[in-house]
């Protein structure tokens, strides 16, 4: 790919990268920084990109590294909202009957491959992650997108391991409900 083509490809990817960086960092200025660093690194490293993967996959990989680097450098102050959200009561009481069964049985989500091939599904997924409270969303993105282990997440968010597991569980339950309601129970997902 020549320099000009790479330039315009990267420019086109910028909004997507920003969106994901915001989901992870929950801060517009930090997201801008991370994406700028990423695009710069992509331009500098273009010679090393042999086209072995999609440009997008390659650049998203750089973005992940840049964000993890920020964590390692301790560049961002720890947010207290994560601690508060972990400690707060959220029992999902409305989801379960007193005997521990669900009030509404979970839907059959059908063929995973078919869902993952739909671009619109990922818009709904992003919207659902965005709807998580900030601290919870950051922890969830660290675990499931950056694929960090819980030790690293606890350390970064300065929360106890117990709170970390609780918060990730709550995030998964909320995300499950949100996807079911906004995708699988609708025409689009059905």
């Amino acid at each position: 790919m020549d320099a000009e083509a790479l330039h315009s490809t990267l420019e086109a990817l910028r909004p997507t990268l920003l969106k994901i960086a915001r989901l992870q960092l929950r801060n517009d200025a930090w997201a801008e920084d991370a994406v700028s660093e990423t695009l710069l690194a992509a331009l500098e490293g273009a010679a090393g990109f042999a086209g072995q993967s999609q440009v997008k996959t390659w650049v998203v990989g750089i973005l992940k590294h840049k964000i993890i680097d920020q964590f390692r450098r301790g560049a961002r102050e720890v947010s207290v909202e994560a601690q508060m959200q972990a400690a707060g009561a959220e029992s999902f009481d409305e989801l379960y009957r007193p005997d521990g069964h669900r009030v509404h049985p979970p839907l059959d989500w059908g063929d995973p491959e078919a869902t993952l091939s739909r671009v619109q599904f990922f818009d709904v997924l992003q919207a659902c992650v965005e709807r998580l409270p900030a601290g919870m969303g950051r922890a969830f993105m660290m675990r499931e997108w950056l694929e960090l282990d819980t030790d690293q997440i606890c350390k970064e968010l300065a929360i106890t391991p117990t709170n970390c597991f609780v918060m990730l569980h709550r995030a998964r339950m909320r995300l499950r409900e949100c996807l079911e309601m906004n995708w699988f129970a609708t025409e689009r997902g059905g």
Binding site: H101, F122, E144, R176
Partner: protein, 62 residues
């Protein structure tokens, strides 16, 4: 489903399903979850959904 040492409610099964994605379960919990999933189709469904959400999240932005 009755509750007891071996039999856990769906609510607890969901907690264990999630916990299992972050660390290995204690042997007792692993067995209780396994047993629950054997007999509870609805939780087996949630198990597949958890796996699906993980796959989907890893493809975010790809």
């Amino acid at each position: 489903m009755k509750q007891g040492w071996l039999l856990i409610p769906c609510r607890h099964a969901h907690e264990l399903l999630s916990e299992r994605m972050d660390k290995p379960l204690a042997p007792g919990d692993r067995f209780r979850l396994w047993l629950h999933l054997k007999v509870c189709d609805m939780c087996a469904r949630v198990e597949r959904q958890m796996d699906f959400m993980r796959r989907a999240m890893r493809r975010l932005g790809d």
